[in-house]
């Protein structure tokens, strides 16, 4: 698709969202950023333990992808998944923050934490601490949809690094031969921890890997929610029509270190700055023609919402130690 026809289609999608819809998507991106910035702060203050993987700079992918799907569809998420969880249907910021802080009121009653946030009632089947751990699970979810003959789809998101696990390759092949309604969303943020994509594989684009399994592969600008929306919407339409899976590669960038302890010796400050020029939030706000004041008011609203979630989480009880054995078996 040439650039100009693509922009035209994107403009149509933007129009489809309407001014309010588009603003709501921007607001969601800001909510994700505010969540991540608060998470980082809480961590620095020693108020949470463990580790976390921030998606600052990648907000457009989460928001664009979720908005292309329907309530009732399935999500399988990965370790850098706060954004996807917030963008998913019926998400509850309070329950997210409470889980992040290990409280009983959290999505997973404080048992899962940052890496394992799930909202099972909303078919958000959870984040995964294992790289590519959710990718083969998508095959089974897709198979179930097919057997139950519903028009749901399953989106599984994962990183560039995950596409080097054997599980990724087995999964794409199985979904392909059985024409399963699965959307593989590879969030290529250029690094797997310290490993640059260019050193980890020799294909030019991760979406090229789709060819090995006879399925479509597309690469889109992951810092543009409309571009991501469009690619995921096309993949969903294909999946619902019984035509099988699609591999969507969303090109983006991780602004922060891999996790809490990362000296980032593997990349330059200039490279980070260059990508920060492509801030998905500022770009989209400009595209919607927002004034600085309007944008700032939206940002402040997001920050306020996150602060309220922190207050909720802080007022919430710790899990009762006497319930420690709960939930191992059904």
């Amino acid at each position: 698709m040439s650039r100009s026809t693509q922009s035209k289609k994107e403009a149509e999608h933007l129009a489809e969202w309407g001014a309010d819809g588009a603003r709501q998507k921007l607001g969601l991106m800001m909510l994700i950023r505010a969540f991540e910035e608060k998470a980082e702060e809480l961590f620095a203050l020693g108020r949470v333990h463990g580790t976390m993987h921030l998606s600052i700079g990648q907000e457009a992918t989460a928001v664009g992808a979720a908005s292309a799907l329907r309530r009732g569809d399935y999500l399988l998420n990965h370790h850098r998944g706060h954004g996807h969880c917030l963008a998913w249907f019926d998400s509850d910021v309070d329950a997210m923050m409470a889980e992040f802080m290990g409280k009983e009121t959290g999505y997973c009653r404080g048992r899962g934490g940052s890496m394992h946030i799930a909202n099972v009632e909303a078919n958000n089947l959870g984040a995964n601490g294992i790289v590519a751990g959710g990718v083969p699970i998508a095959v089974g979810v897709g198979l179930s949809i097919k057997m139950r003959q519903t028009d749901q789809v399953c989106m599984v998101n994962f990183g560039d690094g995950a596409s080097n696990e054997g599980a990724f390759h087995e999964s794409l092949n199985m979904a392909s031969i059985w024409k399963l309604p699965v959307i593989y969303l590879c969030e290529n943020n250029q690094y797997a921890m310290s490993m640059p994509v260019t050193k980890a594989m020799t294909v030019a684009q991760i979406s090229d890997r789709a060819a090995a399994y006879g399925i479509p592969g597309v690469t889109v600008d992951g810092n543009d929610p409309v571009a991501v929306y469009e690619a995921v919407a096309a993949a969903a339409a294909r999946a619902r029509a019984g035509q099988g899976p699609t591999l969507v590669e969303s090109q983006t960038y991780r602004w922060r270190g891999h996790s809490k302890s990362d000296k980032q010796a593997y990349r330059t400050r200039d490279e980070v700055k260059e990508w920060q020029q492509r801030d998905p939030i500022l770009r989209f706000a400009a595209r919607l023609g927002l004034s600085d004041a309007e944008r700032e008011a939206m940002r402040q609203a997001a920050v306020d919402r996150i602060n309220a979630a922190v207050a909720f989480a802080e007022a919430s009880p710790e899990p009762d130690v006497r319930t420690i054995m709960d939930g191992v078996y059904a």
Partner: protein, 347 residues
């Protein structure tokens, strides 16, 4: 071809005096790796983020700069591939030392370890050797939750053909790692995240601590505590507290889980008549079951004055919440309480 530079067991001192220089556990790992890379051309390292990043816990920091990316190899995220590549390189004359970033991820390497590395020599009539080491940090206590806190050592103990090493001190980790690299068998080398920053005396020159030798970490006459990895430290702390109450524990660290050197354990239980086994891994199917069996199967049986007790991780995945996480595995106070009951004949 020039004669390759090789490190050999014959040239290395066995368990020399510890001396006075103190370094951390992770520095001791790094020192062993550096000395092996320096002395033996067959040795190379491979794993995720072990190069410029220096490894998730810093074990290989600086080694890529020192030895080059050809010998300190960053891999894609491919744990089955790492294990398999170690097997192949070992079969073909090298001495690979792989790193699995967290022990949890070794579940992705299992086929290559269990069905290939462990069995190749036997299946080929004893004619092939697979001299590889796979290092991995296990254990909880860092808030990393259920998929980054596993203690899976007993999975490997259950596989003939694999050796399983689990050092608890800086001194042992260095000597055992060098011994593992020089061993002609595949060795699963289990480190612990919470041990990395602990300090202790370590000789600077290369040396080995032979695989398959238990260590009596503290002597005492009232009961025997057999503990592994981080739990050795906790058992020693508990023993210190109990000494104040007049209860003297003998603490034994098997160091190598397979092959197990059971003689010092049997001798100790014959002396004390009471035994407590402590490990972090979950209880059911854990190494404690093996240790208890070895004791009751042995000449120590007739000397037992109480049931052999186990204090282990609960039979649950590791929870995220800090408080729950701490309750999931044995802490010092729990060891004190259990050992006290046992010593006083209350169990």
């Amino acid at each position: 071809m020039t004669t390759p530079k090789l490190l050999s067991l014959e040239n290395l001192p066995v368990a020399p005096p510890a001396g006075t220089r103190e370094i951390t556990y992770v520095e001791a790992v790094r020192e062993a790796l550096r000395q092996a890379l320096t002395a033996d051309e067959r040795v190379f390292l491979m794993g995720e983020d072990i190069g410029v990043y220096g490894g998730a816990f810093g074990a290989t920091a600086g080694l890529a700069q020192e030895f080059g990316e050809g010998r300190v190899i960053d891999t894609p995220i491919s744990e089955a591939g790492i294990a398999g590549a170690c097997v192949g390189a070992a079969l073909a004359g090298m001495r690979p030392v792989g790193e699995i970033q967290f022990m949890d991820f070794v579940t992705l390497s299992m086929e290559q370890l269990v069905l290939q590395a462990a069995k190749i020599r036997f299946m080929f009539g004893g004619k092939a050797t697979v001299p590889m080491v796979l290092r991995m940090p296990g254990g909880s206590g860092t808030g990393a939750a259920a998929q980054h806190s596993e203690s899976l050592e007993n999975w490997f103990v259950h596989v003939p053909g694999l050796k399983v090493v689990m050092p608890s001190t800086p001194y042992d980790v260095k000597g055992l790692l060098l011994a593992a690299i020089l061993d002609d068998n595949p060795v699963i080398f289990v480190e612990h995240k919470l041990l990395y920053k602990t300090k202790g005396p370590v000789p600077e020159a290369p040396y080995v601590v032979p695989l398959g030798q238990s260590r009596v970490a503290r002597t005492g006459q009232h009961l025997t505590v057999i503990a592994t990895s981080l739990m050795v430290n906790r058992a020693l702390e508990a023993a210190q507290k109990l000494a104040g109450e007049g209860i003297e524990c003998e603490v034994i660290d098997p160091r190598t889980l397979n092959p197990l050197d059971e003689a010092p354990i049997v001798a100790s239980v014959k002396k004390t008549g009471r035994a407590l086994v402590v490990h972090e891994a979950v209880r059911t199917g854990g190494y404690g079951g093996e240790l208890v069996s070895r004791i009751v199967d042995s000449a120590a049986f007739d000397y037992l004055e109480a049931p052999v007790r186990r204090l282990t991780g609960l039979d649950i995945p590791i929870p995220y919440n800090r408080n729950l996480e701490a309750h999931a595995v044995p802490q010092v106070d729990a060891i004190v309480a259990e050992a006290r009951r046992l010593a006083r004949g209350e169990v």
